[in-house]
């Protein structure tokens, strides 16, 4: 038996013991996880710093703060989320109990990514724990130091049988995918997303895929360019552009291109000083492979700002590209790096057309002071999420579902959405063996009269209004009374 097989089998056994179900146990695990973030902040930050050159404050801001908030929310709301949810009844079930009961799925596989390793690996885990599941956590091997820290620390704080950490590369992931899970939650790119879904087909395992894409950013000339460019620069260059919802490229009219470049340059200087290489708040590319990949994207475009790079440190300066053409290399794939291409277009119509030619992105941004522009962009495009006049921040609202559509993914999470995504919502009808007389109308031998009653009663629910419902209730009572005194309705 391989190590992966063993750990999955152990997680399943632990799940079947039932201990992950009581709400108290789930909250206990989540509180311990929260303690991990505070007690081990230094180790977490050191590892992230080695992997992505992020500062300690940056790590808190972008990784652990959100997770703590999510856990706090769950602790407050879990009882409500896990409780039976009553639903509308029809006439025949008026005396019955009808509700949806959320239940755990079983053993969930969580495959994390390397760009915000704690956020995108642990947030699904939080959802899985809250929903009462066991979960196998597979951190990305690309963020080498963080994967090690996760492997070492998680078992010290949370139930290591229910939530084992499996580290490794492609062979280990493939071995994991051969096992049977009740849900697979993957964050990463579309190519691997397809492989995951195909593997899930074998056991008919449902999947949540948080993928990526090229998130467009349209700047309308009526907006406050200085604020817009500052927000865009922040959204772009945070984590050195390695964010699934970073504004990938800008679409704007040629008349404002120069101003946009100026304002972005100003913001870069304000955030990262005149020499970002020495600034502790500016990140690095995760590894050589991605460094080389991103540099190739520069090849056939004009650099308007930045462009400096240093292979030894995987450093690429915050860069802006001007007059970029749709056929340029930088427009052929998700950049996932600190290059901000500007494509001049004639206006909103062309922008919408251009965006719709591509795959549906994970996020879509529009900067405008004109509500009509914002509404048109929203109504005539599709994307995972939509944000006007800022970047990234919709990620932080836990009452908004976070997920993609089309090539950018399927399923969603955050807050209650995580809980529901990793639960089974079981429809329950609790009846009694009484009032059997009423059921007579549905039993054979079938007669036209019975059919008339059944048609009327069993299914009619909608558009009756309050009065209609009361009238039918009265008739139902009459039928019940009548049928209990007769063995059968008249033929």
């Amino acid at each position: 038996m391989s190590r992966e097989q063993q750990l999955v089998a152990q997680a399943r056994k632990a799940f079947e013991s039932g201990r992950s179900r009581p709400l108290e146990y789930r909250i206990y695990q989540l509180k311990n996880l929260k303690r991990l973030f505070t007690e081990r902040q230094k180790e977490i930050a050191d590892a992230i710093n080695k992997d992505l050159n992020r500062s300690e404050v940056g790590t808190q801001m972008f990784e652990t703060l959100g997770l703590e908030g999510e856990i706090n929310l769950i602790i407050r709301k879990l009882k409500e989320w896990a409780a039976p949810r009553p639903v509308e009844k029809n006439l025949m079930t008026l005396s019955d109990t009808v509700y949806i009961q959320p239940e755990p799925l079983g053993v969930v596989l969580i495959i994390g990514a390397w760009n915000y390793p704690w956020a995108v690996t642990i947030q699904p885990l939080i959802g899985a724990i809250a929903a009462g599941n066991a979960a196998v956590v597979k951190p990305s091997e690309v963020c080498v130091h963080t994967a090690k820290v996760m492997e070492n620390l998680l078992p010290l704080y949370i139930d290591k049988e229910l939530y084992p950490v499996v580290t490794g590369g492609v062979p280990e992931t493939q071995e994991l995918l051969r096992q049977r899970f009740d849900h697979i939650f993957y964050t990463g790119n579309s190519t691997v997303g397809k492989i995951i879904m195909e593997a899930a087909a074998k056991h008919l395992t449902p999947v949540t895929l948080e993928l990526g894409g090229k998130s467009p950013c349209y700047i309308d000339k009526t907006c406050d360019l200085s604020i817009a460019c500052r927000r865009i620069a922040w959204g772009k260059y945070t984590n050195c552009g390695q964010t699934c919802i970073a504004p990938d490229y800008i679409l704007c009219e040629p008349s404002i291109q120069d101003r946009v470049i100026e304002e972005v340059k100003k913001s870069i200087k304000g955030f990262y000083t005149a020499d970002p290489k020495t600034c502790p708040d500016y990140g690095r590319i995760i590894n050589q492979r991605h460094f080389k990949r991103i540099l190739t994207l520069l090849e056939d475009s004009t650099v308007a700002a930045g462009g400096e790079n240093d292979e030894s440190g995987c450093y690429i300066a915050p860069t802006v590209l001007r007059d970029v053409k749709p056929e340029a290399k930088v427009m052929q794939e998700e950049i996932f790096g600190p290059l901000l291409p500007i494509l001049p277009i004639s206006g909103l119509d062309e922008a919408i057309k251009f965006i719709n030619k591509g795959e549906k992105p994970l996020a879509l941004y529009v900067f405008s002071s004109d509500e009509k522009v914002i509404n048109r962009m929203r109504d005539e495009t599709s994307s995972g999420g939509f944000l006007a006049n800022d970047c990234l921040v919709h990620f932080s609202i836990s009452s908004l579902p976070f997920g993609g559509v089309g090539n950018s993914g399927m399923g969603c999470y955050h807050g209650k959405f995580s809980f529901d995504q990793l639960s089974h919502l079981r429809g329950c009808l609790v009846k009694k063996l009484k009032m059997e007389g009423v059921n007579n109308m549905r039993y054979p031998p079938h007669t036209p009269k019975k059919l008339g009653w059944a048609r009327f009663f069993i299914l009619k629910t909608a558009d009756l209004g309050w009065v209609g419902r009361m009238m039918l209730l009265a008739v139902l009572a009459a039928v019940y009374i009548r049928s209990t005194f007769h063995t059968n309705l008249e033929p």
Binding site: V57, M61, F62, L65, G66, E68, E70, V87, E88, N90, V98, I100, D182, G193, K194, E198, L204, L209, C223, W234, C279, D281, Y282, I374, R378, G384, F386, N389, D390, V393, H394, S396, I397, S398, S399, L400, F402, G406, M410, G415, H424, L425, G427, L429, V430, K431, K432, L433, K434, E436, R442, Y443, P444, P445, H446, R455, L459, T461, A462, D463
Partner: protein, 481 residues
């Protein structure tokens, strides 16, 4: 009614791509988006059903010898009800949900919009050939999509009828029927859809997921499984027998949510069998083959499969067992002394054969059920609410119903779908609308409070972080702003 001959394989491939392209063009034109358009289509579908009830009943009778009563209840009325429900609630469903925010975003607009996915594919099965094709279609249309529907070729008369009627009531550019068998379906699946909704078997479902993975198309799978029916504790045997017989032998057992097998103690079994006998006689007379309220098996292939099961079982047939090949008839049959590894327990029966397995305690029955795949539905009959509670809390299934069978499906407020081997996703009522929609998170920020934003910009500092924590935590969770 004569059905036209099918085109060749090559023609089919081209035709399919053309159809998908045409529908995609229609979707991109935006015609299916406005609420009025969707309401009109749903209203037309409603007219289609009510104008053609006789033809529908005739086709269903040809395919499955469906008694008029069953056809009306489980095909016509349930579809009409779903249409009424969608038409009445469409406005409400389409409204955006405004959501709660944190302090930093108090001045912003945050809401969730339901948006159509694009071109969706609905593949229907043969057992309720109208209901299980049109009900998903209602959700898809209500959500603003263009729809390709693929009725089952096994229920041939209904397939022909649907292919004839849909173009007469709905615009072909937005809603098209594609006909054919497994080869045609395979070819159709090579195209790119924005959602695939499949009702049928696990085997086919696997190949659908594989085909969908090529395009990262989300799927909904309504599969089956062996739906257990537990009878324990104190119970009104006569009432239980009525409801059990009704739900088992409805449509000759060919329902994905039919109670597949019974688990009960020996004492209960001994009381149950005479009760079942009485009910069977009162429902279907002493000569069920002549009774117009008894359905037939859909095809010779399935009839043979079922008769072979009867031959292979090591159990004892106590009621029924008669069969007639020419008529594709199998009598309502009850088999006892069935072991866990019996032929009748190897696959979903999907026929009028009811095995009874005797297990003395409800705890052991629960363990038995949990050894198997999670079913689409799970039933327990008991007058003791503690027994009902124990079964519900210690098992998992798509849906759960105590003291009756099938009827939980008729409630549009309940999500109808499986879990594990019985399926993925759900529908009915609003759930159908949600299944075929994308929930797009939308946030509209203003230009004000840029100074507040300053907290998140580099250079980062502990001080800024403290403020950030405070402004973003408030009532909800947060991350960076």
């Amino acid at each position: 009614m004569v059905c036209v001959e099918q085109p060749s394989a090559g023609e089919r491939m081209n035709t399919h791509s053309e159809v998908v392209d045409r529908l995609r063009g229609a979707f991109q034109s935006g015609v299916t988006i406005p609420e009025e358009f969707r309401r009109t289509q749903l209203t037309m579908l409603r007219s289609m059903i009510s104008d053609n009830e006789e033809r529908i009943l005739k086709a269903l009778h040809q395919d499955l010898a469906k008694p008029k009563f069953e056809a009306i209840l489980s095909e016509v009325e349930i579809v009409m009800n779903e249409l009424h429900h969608a038409i009445a609630n469409l406005s409400h469903w389409m409204k955006p949900d405004y959501v709660s925010k944190n302090l930093a975003t108090k001045l912003d607009d945050c809401f969730v919009r339901r948006e159509p996915l694009g071109v969706v594919l609905v593949i229907g099965p043969w057992n309720y050939p109208l209901q299980l094709l049109i009900l998903p279609m209602v959700g898809a249309i209500a959500a603003g999509n263009c729809v390709i529907i693929k009725p089952s070729e096994v229920s041939f008369a209904t397939e022909c009828l649907i292919a004839d009627l849909i173009p007469k009531y709905l615009p072909q550019d937005c809603y098209t029927v594609v006909r054919g068998g497994s080869e045609e379906t395979k070819a159709l699946l090579q195209n790119r859809f924005d959602h695939i909704f499949y009702t049928g078997s696990q085997t086919v479902a696997r190949s659908i997921v594989q085909a969908a993975s090529v395009h990262l198309t989300p799927v909904t799978l309504e599969l089956g499984g062996k739906c257990p029916c537990l009878l324990y504790g104190r119970l009104n045997i006569v009432a239980a027998a009525h409801r059990l017989v009704w739900s088992k032998f409805f449509n000759a057992g060919q329902s994905c949510v039919a109670p597949d097998y019974v688990l009960c103690s020996t004492a209960t079994r001994d009381a149950l069998i005479p009760a079942l006998k009485d009910v069977l006689e009162s429902f279907y007379t002493t000569e069920p083959q002549k009774c117009p309220d008894v359905s037939r098996i859909v095809s010779l292939r399935h009839w043979t499969r079922l008769v072979e099961l009867l031959g292979k079982t090591r159990g004892r047939i106590v009621l029924g067992g008669e069969h007639d090949q020419e008529d594709k008839y199998i009598a309502p049959t009850v088999v006892v002394d069935v072991a866990e590894d019996d032929a009748l327990m190897a696959e979903e029966i999907f026929g009028p054969i009811l095995p009874i397995i005797t297990i003395e305690s409800v705890e052991k029955s629960i363990a038995f059920v949990n050894r198997k795949e999670k079913p689409l539905a799970l039933y327990v009959f008991s007058d003791e609410s503690s027994v009902v509670k124990m079964v519900m809390e210690n098992t998992s299934s798509g849906g759960f119903c105590s003291n009756d069978g099938i009827v939980h499906m008729t409630l549009p407020g309940l999500p109808f779908g499986g879990v594990g081997g019985s399926g993925w996703g759900n529908y009915h009522g609003r759930w159908g609308f949600e299944t075929f929609s994308h929930r797009r998170a939308c946030m509209l920020r203003g230009w004000a409070l840029e100074r507040l934003n300053g907290l998140r910009y580099p250079p980062y500092s502990e001080e800024k972080l403290k403020w950030l924590r405070w402004t973003t935590s408030a009532k909800n969770s947060c991350s960076m702003m």
